[in-house]
């Protein structure tokens, strides 16, 4: 998971793209160590001290981890639970739409 996300973030560094996490670990200090180890540089919301019972995942009815949503530049949900190659394709398609001037 992390290697693919690292490479996606790196590849699209100059594009209007953002990878935003919602993290449900409860030990923040341990998490920060792990993020340094795994070179996780993208921003994450913290789901709070209740971990997987926290407010953000609850609001989005998240039942399994990881859960993925891909939004276009207007904030519209366009893909769900795409990973690896499929995630790349989804993001590239939406970036192309932006560049193509699709309103």
């Amino acid at each position: 998971m992390y290697p693919h996300e690292r490479s996606l973030v790196k590849r699209l560094a100059d594009k209007p793209f953002a990878l935003i996490g919602v993290n449900s670990d409860t030990d923040k200090e341990k998490l920060k160590k792990r993020m340094a180890e795994e070179r996780i540089t993208w921003r994450s919301f913290w789901n709070g001290p209740k971990g997987t019972d926290g407010p953000i995942s609850k609001a989005w009815n998240v039942r399994g981890w990881p859960t993925i949503y891909v939004l276009d530049h207007k904030g519209v949900i366009r893909f769900k639970d795409v990973r690896e190659q499929q995630m790349d394709e989804a993001v590239d398609q939406l970036l192309k739409e932006m560049e193509g001037g699709k309103k």
């Binding site: 996606l8 935003i20 919602v22 993020m35 919301f45 407010p55 990881p66 993925i68 276009d72 893909f79």
Partner: protein, 275 residues
């Protein structure tokens, strides 16, 4: 004096143990023994998998270990079902059915089918069957996957006099409708929106009719209404084509930010954890 008492006590313990070995176990005792065997077998299986390592035939070893464990548990589930068959309405008989039907793996083995059929036949109208129905509903998310399970859910919905128990069955049907809708969305099927509408109506109905009923899958799992509201929120706001709801929160350094800060960019939202 103490010495003698201790010796007598020891003799009595041995005598009791010998006597217990001679006496046939009651169904309840046999069920407890099966449950304990399962627990021990699980612990042994997990311990064994942890020492497989990463050699070239690791995968084969994992498969062998699982195969052996799975055969053992199939036998244990079958033994429990035999206790239920002998006297389905007894406490031990019901206990055996409840034990088997709160283990997901059992549903995919012959003993699971037998347990579902016995429960439908003897306990569809029992106030005690709520937990079984809740588990069956959580496991049988595809309405076509398990005819015996579907028959139990239908029998309970029709016959059970207890509102909360009926609620578990109706929750199962609503969940199945949503799973159908989610699958259609994933497959970009033409009827995806229609199925989403059906799922929405199913959850609206259970919110209205069973909103205050507790979920019986485990202790303190909230009400049917609370779950229905979450599923309705997802069906109404998190489908493909909807503008995503905003998220307001803090990052891992405590700085406040919003999802809508990133409007104008393509965004991947990744619900994750490092465990």
């Amino acid at each position: 004096m103490t010495h003698t008492r201790a010796a007598v006590a020891a003799l009595l313990v041995v005598a009791a143990a010998v006597a217990a070995d001679d006496k046939p176990k009651s169904p309840a005792e046999r069920l407890e023994a099966i449950k304990k065997e399962q627990k021990d077998a699980e612990a042994a299986y997990f311990k064994a998998t942890r020492s497989v390592g990463e050699g070239p035939d690791a995968q084969k070893k994992y498969e062998e270990l699982y195969k052996a464990f799975d055969k053992g548990q199939a036998d244990r589930f079958a033994a429990a079902v035999e206790i239920a068959k002998a006297d389905p309405k007894s406490d031990a008989g019901f206990g055996a059915l409840e034990w088997v039907l709160t283990i997901p793996r059992a549903y995919y083995q012959p003993a699971g089918k037998a347990a579902l059929e016995l429960t439908a036949e003897h306990h569809a109208a029992s106030p005690k069957v709520g937990k079984i129905v809740a588990w069956a509903g959580a496991i049988l998310r595809d309405e076509t996957s398990n005819p015996a399970g579907q028959a139990l859910l239908k029998a309970v919905a029709e016959k059970n006099p207890d509102k909360a128990v009926r609620g578990q069955a109706h929750l199962a049907f609503a969940t199945q409708a949503k799973v159908k809708a989610d699958r259609a969305e994933y497959q970009k099927a033409a009827n995806a929106d229609k199925l989403a509408g059906e799922a929405e109506r199913a959850f609206e109905a259970i919110l209205k009719d069973y909103g205050d009923s507790p979920r019986l899958i485990r202790e303190n799992s909230g009400t049917i209404g609370e779950l229905a509201k979450q599923e309705l929120f997802e069906l109404r706001n998190l489908r493909i084509g909807k503008v995503a709801p905003d998220i307001e929160g803090e990052d891992l350094d405590g700085a406040k930010f919003k999802l809508s800060d990133y409007r104008g960019k393509v965004v991947v939202i990744d619900f994750w954890g490092d465990w």
